[in-house]
């Protein structure tokens, strides 16, 4: 039963994405959904890093952008033909392709780059941050500052990155015309299937020993240290995986949206990613992905009808979720059952752990002791 519910939910999602949506949605809506699926891929990574690992990654736009720009560079070079120079460089640059663009002419280097560039950047950042035991709000602020810096860097390099306008006007995606409706459907299926495969992989990861260890690090980093692990390594793995997922999401976003620009990778989209995850339920498997799609969907439909209303709505929704539904939408079913079943007074589970007759403790609580330390003694079950 416990295993059946997530499996059913997964199959429902798969059915909705692969059968229902293509059958009932117009091409335009389906293309929007493809875009939301790329956000969902990013969200799955945030679920891992934040929900399971306790690292509030407010800067996934950085990795989303790295994956996206690698893909966009390839598509630009591909459009320019063998040895050709991307169009915007002739306008703003010196009319030559810079050396660091060249490797991405190769589709294989591009595919590797989509994975490896975010992975390497995340490894370097993660090592610097986690080994120094930076965490909590400091980590969140740092990751956000880096994203902001990345966006500013992109804007400043108009000749090589397209600057404020970003990279756009793509014609083909690995040889397929991007504006062809049939190809756009294919890209939708590709994205949805990648999302589902990633979710299946994540389910496996959550059930693995690593998944248990990650939760242990989240709930008691110091305690894990005293079991012989270096928590920095465990967090690093989760962080790098989440970065790679953001990179994959970014890479898929480019052929779907037809553009990648600094405004897609900066602070604002980074926060939007997190909001979707928080609303869906960050500790669950499907919550982040469903939340990301739902929030993006709501944003599009609301801003179509009430253009200036969305940011208030988003803010309000966020506050409501944080205050009343810290577990996100995924918490609703359990909340409902709990409300329906009147809570019985629990049979007292604690065999009278009387505080011992000693003087009041002078040295407690101590900052150096593990954060897990639970309220000792009385009533462990609430």
């Amino acid at each position: 039963m416990k295993r059946l519910v997530p499996l059913l939910a997964y199959l429902l999602l798969a059915g909705a994405l692969l059968l229902l949506a293509p059958a009932i949605l117009t091409d335009f809506r389906l293309s929007l959904l493809s875009r939301f699926c790329t956000f969902a891929i990013v969200a799955v990574g945030i679920g891992l890093a934040w929900g399971r690992g306790g690292m509030l990654t407010l800067g996934q736009g950085l990795f989303f952008g790295l994956g996206a720009y690698v893909m966009a560079m390839h598509m630009k070079l591909d459009d320019a033909g063998p040895g050709g120079v991307p169009d915007f460089m002739k306008l703003y640059g010196d009319g030559k392709t810079p050396g660091w663009w060249e490797p991405f002419r190769s589709p294989i280097v591009t595919l590797l780059g989509i994975i490896l560039v975010p992975a390497i950047v995340a490894t370097v950042l993660g090592l610097a941050v986690f080994k120094r035991r930076v965490k909590g709000a400091y980590f969140a602020i740092l990751s956000q500052a880096l994203t902001a810096a990345f966006a500013i860097l992109l804007i400043g390099q108009q000749g090589t990155t397209g600057g404020f306008n970003g990279l756009n006007g793509f014609k083909s995606f690995f040889g397929y015309a991007v504006n062809d409706p049939v190809n756009r459907r294919l890209i939708y299926f590709l994205t949805a299937i990648i999302l589902l495969v990633i979710l299946a992989g994540m389910a496996q990861l959550y059930r693995s020993r690593f998944g248990e260890l990650l939760v242990a690090v989240r709930d008691g980093e110091e305690r894990v240290r005293f079991l012989g692990y270096d928590p920095a390594n465990i967090k690093l793995v989760a962080y790098v995986v989440s970065a790679v997922l953001a990179g994959i999401g970014g890479a898929l976003f480019v052929p779907i949206a037809g553009i990648i620009s600094p405004s897609d990778v900066g602070v604002v989209p980074s926060i939007a990613f997190v909001i979707g995850v928080a609303m869906g339920g960050r500790t669950t498997l499907l919550g982040p992905a469903v939340g990301a799609i739902a929030v993006a969907w709501a944003q599009t439909s609301l801003s179509e009808n009430f253009p200036s209303f969305w940011s208030y709505f988003q803010g309000g929704l966020f506050v409501i979720v944080i205050l009343f539904l810290p577990g996100g939408i995924a918490q609703l079913p359990t909340m409902a059952t709990r409300l329906r079943r009147r809570p019985k007074p629990p049979a007292d589970p604690s065999p009278i752990p009387q505080p011992r007759a000693a003087e009041p403790r002078a040295a407690e609580p101590r900052a150096a002791e593990p954060a897990t330390t639970s309220a000792p003694a009385t009533g462990a079950v609430a």
Binding site: R207, S208, D219, L227, Y229, P351, P353, A358, P376
Partner: protein, 252 residues
Amino acid sequence: MSTDYLEITKLHVEFDGFVAIDSVDLTVLQGDLRFLIGPNGAGKTTLIDAITGLVPATGSARYGSTELLGRKVHQIVRMGVGRTFQTASVFEDLTVLQNLDIAAGFGRSPLSLLRKRRSVPPEVEKALTAVGLESLALRPAGVLAHGQKQWLEIGMLLVQDARVMLLDEPVAGMSHEEREETGHLLKRIGADRTVIVIEHDMDFVRTFADSVTVMHGGRVLAEGTVAEIQADERVQEVYLGRSVAAITEEVG
């Protein structure tokens, strides 16, 4: 057997000028169940913190031929030196089994970490039995009673096969029966390990200690068998701030 001992010399810990451990010498042999007693604030916990790398210290703390001071917390654990905490700290969201499995796992290869736990590893099985939590194996650790959490923590050291165990008030807050059980468990564990137990309750110390070290104000005040300690006048003066008369009465 003789290489298995903990030898602390001239250990010194300072917090912003406040000397919490003042030139402490202490040697504990394998199989000698050592109790560490002393009034609140004597520096007992800080001593364990220093040995396990939680607070910086000068001097020396050697296990066999290896120096422990200056190493990272997780490296010290990997050398076979484990500890528990005064306030039980287990992973409340994980089951008893998962807690033990994580404790057993620091030597696992990255690849095996990516796999699911399919069976209960034998050392986890043994530890579960040793601490008597078999029937609770699949319950989240958060629902355990305080005493059971302490047992779970001891179990986590057992699955690691820690050679040196430093237990900070493991029986505090336990019922009389639970204390008895824990005492016997400590005896069994201590037979082939180097164990230091911090404890306040003299009754408990009397029943289960092989030897006792008394700390006061960051220093070692006395050391010896239970009888020797109880006869020591300085101990009677400082211990728990009680009058000599009260102590003699209790001892008497």
